[in-house]
């Protein structure tokens, strides 16, 4: 078997996507943890409290896909699950209102809570958060004379998520801080009302996973793509160079002082195959992607930072293996 080049590639040709001819898809080699841990690298590119970009290099697609799937659908978070409606005289129907409330992201850290047992009818302080939403729309007595804006005419005309008030149960008030529990955003519009309309709701939030309902998913997006690589096979100059530059995402192709094109940064290329439209330059480039270089993008909804979400995801897979092993050992 010919020696595989250091980086396994997929070539993006004009009419097809092709593996490199000496590439046997990493499937032939035998499993060795030593080899895996030697080749595997993680590079963090960008990270803040809500978004993160990092690279997993030298890993099987099956693993990176498992991590992605876990982040989306098996890492838990807290969300409003039950809404007791004591009074709702607004236009929005009870069930629609309840659904809207369910989708509001909560700040509460799911790691501090337990799953509510399936047969439990009453929640405890360890598995439940309770909130109330009591608001009434009235005429604004002190409205400016010549204004007809609804915000000026009525009090509480728009109901925002900031109106949701936490009702600690049991010992919760001493364990958690109020600032760490409620909605992530205070300006999510829940409903619009007119004088006489009233909401009086009791909300119950529990811990759940995205597999059950998307509202429990801790990420807004979690995705990966392969690292693009662009190679220029010959010199491209002048008008051709500007044309080449315009075929790629901004910043990907640079022009040096002689007007010669060079690849500045292929990472953020969209991998469109625009170059192949121009016969003059299509022979000058090889478009490819690195098959074992995964660029992850994780965007948190707000309860946990993205780096914690990733670690939680991997922990879930590990614990799955552990519990299955325990079961198999007593087979």
């Amino acid at each position: 078997m010919p020696k595989l080049e250091e980086k396994p590639k997929v070539l993006l040709e004009e009419f097809r996507v092709k593996n490199a001819p000496d590439d046997y898809g990493m499937a032939d080699e035998k499993w060795s943890f030593k080899k895996f841990s030697k080749n595997f690298r993680i590079v963090i590119v960008r990270m803040d409290s809500s978004e993160m970009e990092f690279d997993l290099i030298g890993i099987q697609p099956a693993f990176s896909n498992a991590f992605r799937r876990l982040m989306l659908s098996e890492v838990p978070s807290m969300a409003i699950e039950k809404v007791m409606i004591k009074n709702n005289t607004s236009i929005i129907q009870d069930e629609v209102l309840a659904h809207r409330l369910g989708l509001i992201p909560l700040k509460a850290d799911p790691r501090l809570f337990e799953y509510r047992p399936e047969d439990a009818t009453e929640g405890t302080e360890f598995d439940t958060l309770e909130f109330s939403l009591k608001i009434k729309c009235t005429m604004n007595k002190s409205q400016p004379k010549d204004s007809f804006r609804t915000e000026d005419l009525y009090e509480n005309h728009s109901v925002y998520s900031s109106a949701i008030k936490w009702q600690p149960i049991g010992n919760q008030a001493s364990v958690h801080k109020e600032a760490d529990i409620g909605p992530v955003h205070s300006d999510i519009l829940i409903s619009k009302m007119r004088p006489g309309h009233e909401l009086d709701l009791h909300l119950v939030a529990v811990k759940g996973i995205g597999k059950d309902h998307a509202k429990f998913s801790p990420v807004a997006t979690a995705s990966y793509r392969l690292l693009p690589e662009i190679t220029l096979t010959r010199e491209v100059k002048g008008n051709e160079a500007t044309l080449l530059q315009s075929c790629f995402s901004p910043g990907v192709i640079g022009l040096d002082t002689d007007g010669k094109a060079y690849v500045r940064n292929a990472r953020y290329d969209s991998c469109s195959r625009n170059v192949y439209r121009y016969d003059a330059i299509k022979d000058a480039v090889i478009l490819s992607r690195i098959r074992d270089h995964f660029i992850f993008n994780v965007e948190s909804v707000g309860a946990m930072t993205p780096n914690i979400i990733f670690v939680e995801a991997v922990k879930i897979l590990r614990d799955k293996c552990k519990s299955l092993l325990d079961e198999l050992n007593s087979f």
């Binding site: 499937a27 080699e29 035998k30 499993w31 943890f33 895996f36 841990s37 595997f40 690298r41 993680i42 590079v43 963090i44 990270m47 990092f54 099987q60 099956a62 693993f63 896909n65 498992a66 991590f67 799937r69 876990l70 098996e74 780096n307 990733f310 670690v311 991997v314 922990k315 897979l317 590990r318 799955k320 293996c321 552990k322 519990s323 299955l324 092993l325 079961e327 198999l328 050992n329 087979f331």
Partner: protein, 100 residues
């Protein structure tokens, strides 16, 4: 119980089995298959989710000699090791990144 065996392989010894995992799907199936397929002596390993509405996953292993149960256990152990290594490496990188 989360794991059971599909009947039908009793007469062919310990070298081929289909295991049924309850409440598992492609997440575990594909990752585990990927590891086990790279073992020496494994003739075939594959998984299927027979129906999208039923949350179960069928996992088939055929070997030349090794008992499939051993192979499955080894696969789970190796996957666990991969996870542990990923967590350690990731946490280290996060620490280094926040320091810089």
């Amino acid at each position: 119980m989360k794991i059971s065996e599909l009947p039908g392989d009793e007469d062919s010894g310990v070298t081929c089995r289909t295991y049924v995992f309850q409440n598992e799907s492609h997440t575990l199936g594909n990752a585990l298959k990927c590891i086990i397929n790279k073992y020496e002596d494994v003739q075939f390993c594959g998984y299927t989710v027979p129906h999208p509405a039923e949350s179960k996953m069928h996992f088939r292993i055929q070997t030349h000699e090794t008992p499939t149960l051993e192979v499955l256990k080894r696969g789970l152990k190796d996957l666990q090791k991969v996870c542990d290594h990923t967590i350690d490496l990731f946490e280290k990188e996060v620490k280094d990144f926040s320091k810089a």
